[in-house]
């Protein structure tokens, strides 16, 4: 056993990178669920974002355009879910699953000519002086801009939901869509916007995997991250900061367990491998012991005539 081989600064820096895709997707899904819609298609929207972000970044040579395209693609792809659930009044669970399955298939098709290509690299934030600080520099000031965007989004969503009128309306729609409708709010329109926001965030999260974390395109490369993000939203009791905590915890334990393995720690590997899931669930379950519960209208379809 040689724990000194683990560099805590690098460890924290890399856990933030590992957590960012989950965080981005979870924040988007949190807004969707707060509006009363359960979209199980996160995984599908992520992989669509991953492939389109990758393709655009490769074609244009600009990772920024890639990320922009991934958000747009995620939002456009979520329109399929909008069409099914908000227009055709289809079952949300089934529609979400359909979105995931078709996203995985479509991305494999779109990505065929991009296997084995290297994407343009996104530069890391490099602030003179700050980024060179010994411990704080690599942890706080040495990342790519999208990682900060993830944190900023968390703060933004939190402030929006808690303090703004728009957030109040969104929550009203999610708690009781009939009452919100009676008050004159456009329930369907608000939900469509929320779903598209969720799609854009998931797309960004997917592109983060294909452009920064891995960085390459391979079929099925999101490998279940979307599902983890979905579970995270529930365990975080629909609270943005808890989603951030859960995401960092999950990313953190994932990276720590690999580090422990490489350092030869004598804990059976199976326990290490399951630890990210177990620890994240335990912590978030303990945190969610307060009275917060799911949005009351979650998963229920709304039609003005009923």
């Amino acid at each position: 056993m040689d724990l000194s081989a683990i560099n805590p600064v690098l460890l924290i820096a890399s856990l933030m990178v590992a957590a960012t895709p989950i965080l981005l997707a979870a924040i988007g899904e949190l807004v969707v669920e707060k509006s009363g819609v359960l979209n199980l298609g996160v995984e599908g929207m992520m992989i669509i974002g991953a492939v389109s972000g990758f393709a655009i970044a490769v074609e244009t040579g600009s990772p920024w355009l890639g990320f922009l395209a991934s958000a747009a693609a995620g939002a456009v792809f979520s329109l399929l879910f909008v069409l099914l659930t908000q227009v055709a009044q289809a079952n949300q669970v089934a529609s979400g699953l359909a979105l995931t399955l078709s996203g995985l298939g479509l991305s494999a098709l779109l990505g065929q000519s991009y296997v084995g290509i290297r994407p343009p690299q996104m530069g890391k934030l490099d602030i003179p002086l700050l980024s060179d600080l010994p411990v704080v520099g690599p942890i706080l000031f040495g990342h790519d801009p999208i990682l900060y965007l993830g944190i900023a989004l968390t703060a933004g969503v939190w402030a929006l939901l808690k303090y703004s009128r728009a957030g109040l309306v969104l929550r009203a729609v999610g708690e009781n869509h009939d009452a919100a409708h009676a008050l004159g709010y456009k329930v369907v329109r608000i939900r469509i916007l929320a779903i598209m926001f969720g799609g854009a965030c998931a797309g960004l999260g997917g592109a983060y995997i294909s452009l920064i974390r891995v960085p390459q395109w391979t079929e099925g490369m999101t490998a279940g991250v979307g599902w983890i993000a979905l579970a995270l939203v529930v365990f975080a009791s629909w609270k943005p900061w808890r989603a951030l905590l859960g995401g960092y915890l999950f990313g953190g334990v994932t990276v720590v367990q690999l580090n422990l393995q490489a350092a030869g720690v004598a804990i059976p590997v199976e326990y290490l491998a399951m630890s990210p899931y177990v620890i994240t669930i335990v912590v978030l379950v303990i945190l969610s012991a307060d009275k917060s519960s799911a949005p009351a209208a979650l998963g229920r379809n709304f039609h003005a005539s009923r």
Partner: protein, 357 residues
């Protein structure tokens, strides 16, 4: 009356047509563990499938299902293939072993070929490649090239196949560099690019400057490239798009000749259950071009190793070799028998850490 007759004859004609059709075409099914675009393991199996199509043209029809999880779901996929009239089914991952045996019992007339396993039946063959011979070449290069003397190894599952590879690479790295140390991370997946990339990054952060992988995607190559000053080896497929660095060489699985031969055997009716285990000599294991990043003398040593493995003058497991606990395994000059190799569940002396049980 006339109508009935017409219908009957139509049905008969149709029946004849279908059976004639079925007799003409040999249907070959493939069950893949990852996507055909993974750039590694499944990609090469799919190349083998395409080779079968090319070799037999209209006489053969191939079907495949990708991303099939190891375990019960694979049994469903195989059953479906057999019901749809497949004559020969290749199941291309270790975890399909028991499902293959189970399904084979239900379809005695369908031939099954299971990759990398050790269970056979009258209608089940196994086939595998002696990847550990390729690992010996990799170990030789890794031992010479490492400057930190730390070699990182990304394992997938703790099965004999993977353990053999680790042992072989270690023995040959140690031979040319007595100070070499292996850091092993078990990813518990064959294919998860993000996790593989994380594993590679962790190993690099802990000082490894050579990364060997036994997982299927090219993600570790990309991670090594981003880190710089780290070398890797292509796994299962050449992965030459990452050369000349970080990828300095590779192990290439060439299944095409085997797949063509076995399909031919089914057509001739000469198919018999067998256990095939071929290595560099038979061409099932290829060593990808060693790039210019490797010094000439190291390249020469690696090629000499490859040649001696190919002509059989050297066995990758030649004594003296002790097991991890220090007990003797192979005496001086003794070579390992295939039975021990097939079920290898121990590390050799010098490797740190335990195999997850």
């Amino acid at each position: 009356m006339k109508l009935t007759k017409l219908l009957t004859s139509a049905a008969m004609a149709l029946g004849l047509a279908t059976s004639a059709f079925a007799a003409d075409k040999t249907k070959v099914g493939f069950v893949f563990v990852g996507p055909v675009g993974d750039g590694g393991w499944t990609y090469e199996h799919n190349q083998g499938r395409l080779a079968v199509e090319e070799a037999f043209g209209d006489k053969v029809e191939t079907v495949y299902v990708e991303n099939v999880a190891e375990g019960p779901d694979s049994e469903r996929v195989m059953t479906q293939m057999a019901l749809e009239g497949a004559d020969l089914i290749f199941t291309t991952s270790f975890g399909y072993m028991d499902p293959t045996i189970n399904v084979a019992k239900k379809f005695p007339n369908v031939r099954f070929e299971h990759a990398t396993g050790y269970k056979t039946a009258p209608n089940v063959s196994t086939y595998s490649a002696r990847f550990y011979e390729g690992r010996a070449v990799q170990g030789t290069i890794a031992g010479h090239m490492t400057e930190s003397n730390i070699v990182g190894y990304i394992g997938s599952f703790p099965i004999p196949e993977v353990v053999r590879g680790i042992n072989s690479a270690y023995i040959h790295a140690k031979k040319v560099n007595p100070d070499v140390q292996f850091k092993i991370v078990w990813a518990f997946t064959w294919f998860d690019p993000a996790k593989e990339a994380d594993a590679a990054k962790v190993l690099i952060e802990q000082g490894a400057d050579v990364i060997l992988q036994h997982t299927d995607s090219t993600a570790p190559q990309a991670a090594a490239q981003a880190a710089g000053n780290v070398i890797t080896f292509g796994q299962a497929s050449d992965m030459s798009e990452y050369g000349p660095t970080p990828r300095v060489s590779s192990i290439i699985d060439d299944w095409a000749p085997y797949y063509v031969a076995r399909t031919q055997a089914v057509m001739d009716g000469s198919w018999e259950s067998a256990m095939t285990w071929d290595g560099i000599g038979a061409g099932m294991v290829g060593i990808g071009e060693i790039s210019d990043a490797v010094p000439a003398d190291v390249k020469e040593a690696a090629l000499a190793m490859k040649a001696s493995l190919a002509d059989g003058s050297y066995h990758a497991f030649t004594g003296p070799v002790n097991k991890q606990d220090g007990s003797a395994w192979l005496a001086d000059g003794e070579t390992a028998d295939d039975g021990t190799l097939a079920g290898m569940n121990f590390f050799v002396e010098g490797i740190e850490g335990d195999i997850p049980q």
